[in-house]
C-alpha cells in the first residue's frame, strides 16, 4: 500500500531527528499519538500536536506515560495506527504496557529518544543505555523489535519501517533514538507518497457477525486482527489466553501462546534484521555500533585503516531481534569485535555472547552525556589488533 498523501510532506527539509521522526509517523499513516512531554523527545509530540489537526489525526497529551502507553493500544483497537514518544524515565513507566501490547499483539510504535541515565540523570544529554531495557524491561518472556537510526533521514525512514514492522508482526516496535540523533539537524528528503511503502493492518476477512477467533492462525504465526466496531466481538486480554482470546490459565496454553509470541519474531529474524556494513569482508577487526556511535566511530576506523589495520564497520540498524547468527559467523571470520556504545556495556554483552570465544570482544564504554572521543575507539581498535 502507498502512503496517504495527506500526511506526507514531500520535499527536502532541514530538520532534526525528532521532527523527522514525527514526519515519518505521519507518512506511515499514524493518526493517533498519546504522549507526555520529556526532554529530549518532546519535539516529536509537539510537531504531531501541530500537524495532526491538519491531517485528521489526534494528539492527546495524557496525564502520564502509563496512560499514553495504553491509550495508544486503545486507539489501535479502535482502528488507528498509533505511537507514543518518550525518553528514559517515561520509558521506564511504559514497561507494563509493553507487556500488554506484546500479549494482545497490538501493533504500535514507541519512540525512545535516549538521554543519560539512570534516573533523571542527564535530561538534555545523550545516552544509549536503554537498549537492554527495550529488550527486557517488562516482566515475563517476550520478543520485540527495536531499530536504531543514526541520522534525521533515518529517523524518518525507520519510523516508517517501525510502523510497517509493527503491522506485519503485530508487535510493539521501538525506535531507539539518542539525543544526538534526535537533535541533530540535517537534510531529510521526504519522497512522494507513492514512493512510500506502507504495510496496512491485516484485518480478518470474517464478515460482520461471523465467527471470528482473535488468535486463530491463518497461514503464518501472526493472526489477522479486527477492530472495535467491526461486529466481531473479540475479547482481548493480557491474561494467558487461547485462540478465542479467552483466559485459559494453565501451562499448556501458556506454552503455546508465549512461544508463538516469541517465535513470530525469532523465526522471522532474518527477514526483520537490517544492518549496514563497510569493509567487513576481509577485515580483521570489526567495529559493531549503532545510533550516533556508528558515525562517531568513523574517524577512528579511518585512522586505523590509515595505519594499515583491516577494520570493518558494521552498523546494527535493527538491534532487536539481535543478529545472533550474523555475529556468530562474523566472529568465526575475524580476530576481534569492538563495540563502542554510550553505556557501560549492553549490546556488547550480546556481541560477547554470540562471539562464543571465536573472536575477542572489546567494549568501548562511555557513561553518556557526550559522545566518544574517536581517539578512545581508535585506542581499543589498536589494542584489539595486537
Amino acid at each position: 500500500m502507498k502512503a496517504d498523501p495527506k500526511g506526507v510532506l514531500t520535499g527536502s527539509h532541514f530538520i532534526d531527528g525528532d521532527h523527522a521522526c514525527a514526519e515519518g509517523a505521519l507518512a506511515a499513516g499514524c493518526r493517533f499519538a498519546a504522549g507526555y512531554p520529556i526532554t529530549p523527545s518532546t519535539e516529536v509530540v509537539e510537531r504531531l500536536a501541530s500537524r495532526f489537526p491538519t491531517v485528521g489525526g489526534i494528539f492527546i497529551q495524557m496525564e502520564d506515560e502509563l496512560a499514553s502507553s495504553i491509550a495508544i493500544l486503545g486507539a489501535v483497537w479502535g482502528g488507528a495506527k498509533a505511537a507514543t514518544v518518550t525518553s528514559g524515565p517515561g520509558f521506564s513507566l511504559m514497561m507494563e504496557h509493553i507487556g500488554l501490547a506484546v500479549m494482545t499483539e497490538t501493533p504500535c510504535v514507541i519512540v525512545n529518544v535516549q538521554r543519560g541515565g539512570p534516573s533523571t540523570g542527564l535530561p538534555t544529554l545523550p545516552g544509549q543505555a536503554d537498549m537492554m531495557q527495550a529488550r527486557w524491561g517488562s516482566h515475563g518472556d517476550y520478543e520485540i523489535i527495536a531499530l536504531s537510526p543514526d541520522s534525521p533521514q533515518e529517523c524518518f525512514d525507520l519510523t516508517i519501517s517501525a510502523f510497517n514492522l509493527s503491522e506485519r508482526f503485530r508487535v510493539p516496535v521501538f525506535v531507539m533514538m539518542d539525543e544526538c540523533v534526535g537533535h541533530m539537524i540535517e537534510r531529510v528528503v521526504i519522497p512522494d507518497p507513492d514512493e512510500i511503502e506502507i504495510v496496512p493492518r491485516r484485518l480478518t476477512d470474517v464478515p460482520r457477525g461471523g465467527e471470528y477467533l482473535p488468535y486463530r492462525l491463518d497461514g503464518d504465526l501472526i493472526p489477522p486482527m479486527t477492530h472495535a466496531g467491526m461486529g466481531h466481538y473479540p475479547h482481548i486480554t493480557g491474561l494467558t489466553h487461547d485462540e478465542r482470546g479467552y483466559p485459559a490459565m494453565n501451562a499448556e496454553t501458556q506454552d503455546t501462546l508465549v512461544r508463538r509470541l516469541c517465535d513470530k519474531i525469532l523465526k522471522n529474524a532474518d527477514d526483520i534484521i537490517e544492518i549496514r556494513e563497510d569493509g567487513v569482508d576481509g577485515a580483521d577487526i570489526v567495529v559493531v555500533s549503532y545510533g550516533i556511535t556508528s558515525r562517531v566511530c568513523l574517524p577512528a576506523i579511518r585512522e586505523a585503516r590509515a595505519k594499515g589495520l583491516k577494520v570493518g564497520w558494521l552498523r546494527l540498524v535493527t538491534v532487536w531481534p539481535f543478529p545472533d547468527r550474523l555475529i556468530r559467523e562474523l566472529a568465526g571470520r575475524v580476530k576481534a569485535l569492538v563495540v563502542p556504545e554510550l553505556n557501560l556495556g549492553q549490546v556488547y554483552y550480546e556481541v560477547e555472547r554470540c562471539a562464543q570465544g571465536q573472536a575477542t570482544t572489546h567494549l568501548v564504554p562511555h557513561a553518556g552525556g557526550a559522545v566518544h572521543d574517536p581517539e578512545d575507539i581508535l585506542r581499543v581498535i589498536e589494542e584489539a589488533a595486537r
Binding site: 493517533f32 495504553i70 491509550a71 472495535a228 466496531g229 486480554t237 483466559p247
Partner: protein, 301 residues
C-alpha cells in the same frame, strides 16, 4: 448431596441477559451472592433499552473480579491492565468516535491505582460511561483494603480495622467535572438500569457507582453474613435523594447509603471541544478524520 439433575429449561424464551453474554464462558467465576452479576443484568438491560447497536458498544475493564466483566459480555471487550481501563478507553474512543465506550471495573482498579486516569478523564469530559462496582475491597486478590473501604472495616491489609478515610466517589467525580454522577446499590436494579441507560445516552464523562456485596471476602471478614444480608442492608439503609449535594453522600461502615442521581449537567466533550477549537483557529486547514462526521456539531441536551 444433590437431587437428580433437572432437565434444562426447554422453552424458547431466554433469559434476556443471555443474548449479551458469551454463553460459552458461563458459569462465571463470581462467588455465590456476589453483586457483580446483578449489576451486569442492569447493564445489559440498559444497553438493550438504549437501542445503541451492539456493534457500536465497547466494554473495557481493568483487573479484578469486576474486571472480568468485559470477558463475559458479547461485545467488543477489552481486559486491560490493573488501573488503566480509562486510559485505554480514551484511545479507543478517540480513534473511533462512533463507539460508545463503557468502562466497567472495580473500586480498587478505578480509584486506587487508577485514580489519576479517572480524575483526568472526568476533567476532560472524555466521552465514556464509567461503571464502578464498589464492593469496598479488592476481591480478586483476596480482600485487601481499598480507597473505598469504610472506616473500621477489616481487610487483610487492615487487619485491625481500616483507619483511612475512604473517598466519597460522587464528590470526587463531580469536583473533577463528570457531567453525570449517580450511585445505586445492587439492590436498586430498576434505578440502576435506568441510570446506566441515561449515562449511555449522554455525551461526556458519566459515572455510576454501584455499591455491591463481596460476601466471600469483605462480608466474611467483617462478619456481615452472605450476599443476601448485604442486600437486605441495602434495602433497609438506603435513602434515595436525587440531586443530593455530592459532598454529603460519603459512606460509612454499614451506615446509611444515599443513592440517586446527583449530577446531570452538560459541557462539550473532549472531542467536541477539540474540533470546535481547531476549526475556529485553523479554519480550512483543519481536517476532520473520516470517522468523525458530526463530531463538534451543535447538539441538544
Amino acid at each position: 448431596m444433590s437431587t437428580q439433575a433437572p432437565p434444562a429449561p426447554t422453552c424458547e424464551v431466554h433469559n434476556p441477559t443471555e443474548q449479551w453474554l458469551r454463553m460459552d464462558r458461563i458459569p462465571h467465576i463470581w462467588c455465590p451472592g456476589c453483586g457483580i452479576g446483578s449489576s451486569v443484568n442492569c447493564f445489559t438491560d440498559a444497553l438493550e433499552k438504549s437501542k445503541i447497536p451492539r456493534d457500536n458498544v465497547s466494554i473495557v475493564s481493568g483487573i479484578g473480579c469486576t474486571g472480568r466483566t468485559a470477558g463475559y459480555l458479547k461485545l467488543d471487550s477489552f481486559h486491560t491492565t490493573h488501573g488503566r481501563p480509562i486510559a485505554f478507553a480514551t484511545g479507543l474512543k478517540l480513534a473511533n468516535p462512533k463507539l460508545k465506550v463503557v468502562v466497567y471495573s472495580g473500586d480498587g482498579d478505578l480509584f486506587a491505582i487508577g485514580g489519576n486516569h479517572f480524575i483526568h478523564a472526568a476533567r476532560r469530559n472524555m466521552d465514556m460511561t464509567v461503571i464502578c462496582v464498589n464492593n469496598m475491597t479488592y476481591g480478586m486478590t483476596g480482600g485487601q483494603v481499598t480507597p473505598t473501604t469504610p472506616l473500621t472495616a477489616k481487610a487483610t491489609t487492615s487487619p485491625y480495622g481500616n483507619f483511612e478515610e475512604p473517598f466519597n466517589l460522587p464528590y470526587l467525580a463531580e469536583s473533577c467535572g463528570a457531567v453525570y454522577v449517580a450511585r445505586w446499590t445492587s439492590f436498586h436494579v430498576r434505578q440502576l438500569s435506568k441510570s446506566i441507560r441515561e449515562a449511555l445516552l449522554k455525551p461526556g464523562f458519566t459515572f455510576i457507582e454501584v455499591v455491591a456485596p463481596c460476601p466471600t471476602l469483605y462480608a466474611r471478614r467483617n462478619r456481615l453474613g452472605a450476599g443476601i444480608d448485604a442486600m437486605k442492608y441495602y434495602r433497609e439503609q438506603s435513602e434515595i435523594k436525587n440531586g443530593a449535594p455530592t459532598r454529603d453522600v460519603a459512606l460509612g461502615f454499614q451506615s446509611k447509603i444515599i443513592c440517586g442521581k446527583f449530577v446531570d449537567t452538560s459541557r462539550p466533550t473532549w472531542l467536541e471541544a477539540q474540533v470546535q477549537q481547531h476549526r475556529a483557529v485553523l479554519g480550512d486547514k483543519f481536517t476532520l478524520a473520516e470517522n468523525w462526521e458530526g463530531v463538534g456539531e451543535p447538539r441538544e441536551d
